[in-house]
Point group: D2
Chain length 241, copies 4
């Protein structure tokens, strides 16, 4: 068992994988959870090559029971979770009158309910220990609700409120809760394949490397408890905001 373990909910190929690599380089064992269990297992195997224990888990982020079981499994197999990142994503963009109630619910489940269930699973364990780090991935829409983003923005606002309330409730108990606002476009192989013109236009350092973002989470994880950050924003130097 590792002395420290990170759990990433929403361990996709972009930021999720970068967080896993970053925490592994910092010496933490890493549990990787995402909907596609086979992909999670494959990523876990890749991260294990960095020399830390890993575990891949297929989990529906919006199902609190499944999330609790995954967290329990990770603690059993890897050890106490000291670092947890809620990174599940689900962009929805649509004219409001085209949106169905089911889509509106799904957007919220993927963010707010996933965050609630995950936070309960890890905080039930961290709070009695009086230590731990729990981070939530936010977006531009976490603080600004634009036209056509009613579903996504309301889910992201809800997630921000959840993290803010938890920071205030669990900070004095020794658990550091943080919210990271990603205000830019994350680089990926898929993006380069599907939107080459935009990638060309943004140019070097105009997209955000997942590794650069992951470094910010790792910095927050290591802050001393007399100077904790609740929220920081991240954007490329050339971003208009």
């Amino acid at each position: 068992m590792a002395t420290q373990t990170a759990f990433i909910l929403g361990a996709g190929p972009g930021l999720g994988a970068a967080l896993a690599r970053q925490f592994a380089r910092s010496g933490l064992g890493v549990a990787l959870a995402r909907r596609d269990g086979a992909a999670a297992t494959a990523l876990a195997a890749e991260i294990a090559a960095l020399g830390v224990p890993t575990l891949g888990l297929g989990v529906e982020a919006g199902d609190p029971t499944a999330v609790e079981e995954a967290v329990a499994a990770a603690e059993a197999q890897l050890g106490p979770i000291s670092c947890a990142v809620m990174n599940a994503a689900s962009l929805v963009r649509a004219p409001f009158l085209d949106l169905t109630p089911a889509q509106f619910l799904t957007a919220w489940e993927a963010q707010a309910m996933a965050g609630m269930g995950f936070a309960q699973a890890v905080l039930r364990r961290m709070a009695p220990r009086g230590a731990g780090f729990l981070a939530f991935t936010g977006a531009t829409a976490s603080g600004k609700a634009s036209a056509n983003f009613a579903a996504f923005a309301s889910a992201k606002f809800a997630l921000r409120a959840l993290s803010m309330s938890l920071a205030r409730e669990f900070g004095p108990q020794g658990v550091h809760v943080a919210h990271v606002i990603i205000d830019g476009i994350i680089d990926s192989a898929r993006l380069r394949a599907t939107m080459p013109a935009m990638v060309e236009r943004l140019g070097e350092d105009g997209l955000m490397s997942p590794d650069s973002i992951a470094a910010a989470y790792d910095y927050l994880r290591g802050q001393p408890k007399d100077a904790w950050t609740f929220e920081l924003d991240l954007r490329p130097f050339k971003e208009t905001w």
Copy 2:
């Protein structure tokens, strides 16, 4: 049929009833919807005494289908809705680890899902007409998520995001969407009965009269379209904030 009709979702005995009286005094017909259909009907009868057509409806605010039916019934019986207020309430306050996922979902349904379904029902009708007023009732927790308010604040943040996105999407189409932040305690007979010491301590004008709040909604309803407000806050003069 009235030339103008108001629809209040969440027509309880406090602010909901005050809004109904205010709009009736301004000459609008009023549809009143709340979970308890008998209470809605009784309130409708009371408002009708002010000389406007009214309709009481029993509706589960978080059920989009039921809300759509109620809105359709109001338009059929009273005429086109030009003023809609989403006023459904559901305070939850609990230590986070005592909260169940079901409670978290219920809090969101009562605010965000209710707001989404209601907004769709009224905007489908207002947008083609290029006119209308849709207001959402917010609270202190709409912008600040305190400890023990994870469920309520995340629902209220979500509702605020919804209203902000809709204001941006439907404003240019001629529909005025607004968000009212009520940052104080609303006076009520029940409050005076159950918390007399607090009422005594706050003193005159330390509680908010529902009528004073309702007047703010009616002001917003009448703003000219070259100077619309998206958001205003309301609090008693002696409130600490």
Copy 3:
């Protein structure tokens, strides 16, 4: 002497004049202060035709001594000031490295120092009476500091902080302090003459009528003390924000 008197600091031909007309129509005597004393006197004469006592004063808004003298003169000639609006304006837009320290100081004096001196003059009188209304005119830049707006935005942020602190300090003493964010372009003869293409493009109700804005101040002035607004935003229905 009128039973109630309004004092407008920054009584220019646009919003300042519209506020004066609005308050006069509501029955208040009106003192009008601006740098150009002859213009202030001319406007006072025009407003007097509405049947209320008026007074025009030439005042440098950023000079606290001059402002105190003007407020004293208005109280002596018109009666106790119950409504005060700080409306002095001074847009500066420049690349930051082209700005001089003198320009930066001037922008602040015209907003924050003017607001401070004016607030002291009126609050010294209102607070002992336990009543009064003091409003500050804000702008888009009151909450968002864009590139090339370092001087203007920092002055407007400072003015907003001043008004927020005063609202908290003097609210419990019975004085209502409010901040109005004007997030759009105000219509004027000069604008129509100098920028006809933009006016054409914005179309009907795309510019803000000073009268529409003034009505919002008058609404705030009349709010009951159990439901006061600190801040509201105003923008045309078609504004992108």
Copy 4:
């Protein structure tokens, strides 16, 4: 000459000195500017013991000409400034009607004018190089203006607006501008001597170590340009906010 140089405006014995030590440990030469030139020189000598070139300068932070001369001297003697921190402080707390216009001006000069002059001096040099880091020290009052803080909060709001405008204007030119909100009480020998009861009450990690805060600035300084932070908050784990 060092390959990299930091310039700290407001190099007092607390956070200023901690920033100097932190940057020195990271290998930067350090220029230290504060009103008291002898104290600046003494601190420079102390930091030099860490093995980096240093320079102490007596400067009035609110005087743009003096600040420009100090920045020029630092570049001449230590080399190009790649890291600049505006850390000048000046808390004012008073009932609003006790405040003099001179105090209000002084509070602004010590924050906003100091920030403006310093930013011009360093950005004139950094922008043509297309690189550099400029940070501003904020406080709780940077975003919340409480009663009795009219002077301090309006100065801090102004400084935040300045930094926000500069981040937007100079980010695309390759210069990273950041704003750090310190939301807690910084530990110091003087605080322990003068307020022992409060120190006792806050307990371990209830005060903020200047070193912990300085580490956050150093982290921001090293962020890759595809993921820059504009703003982060820092507070002790047990702080109520």
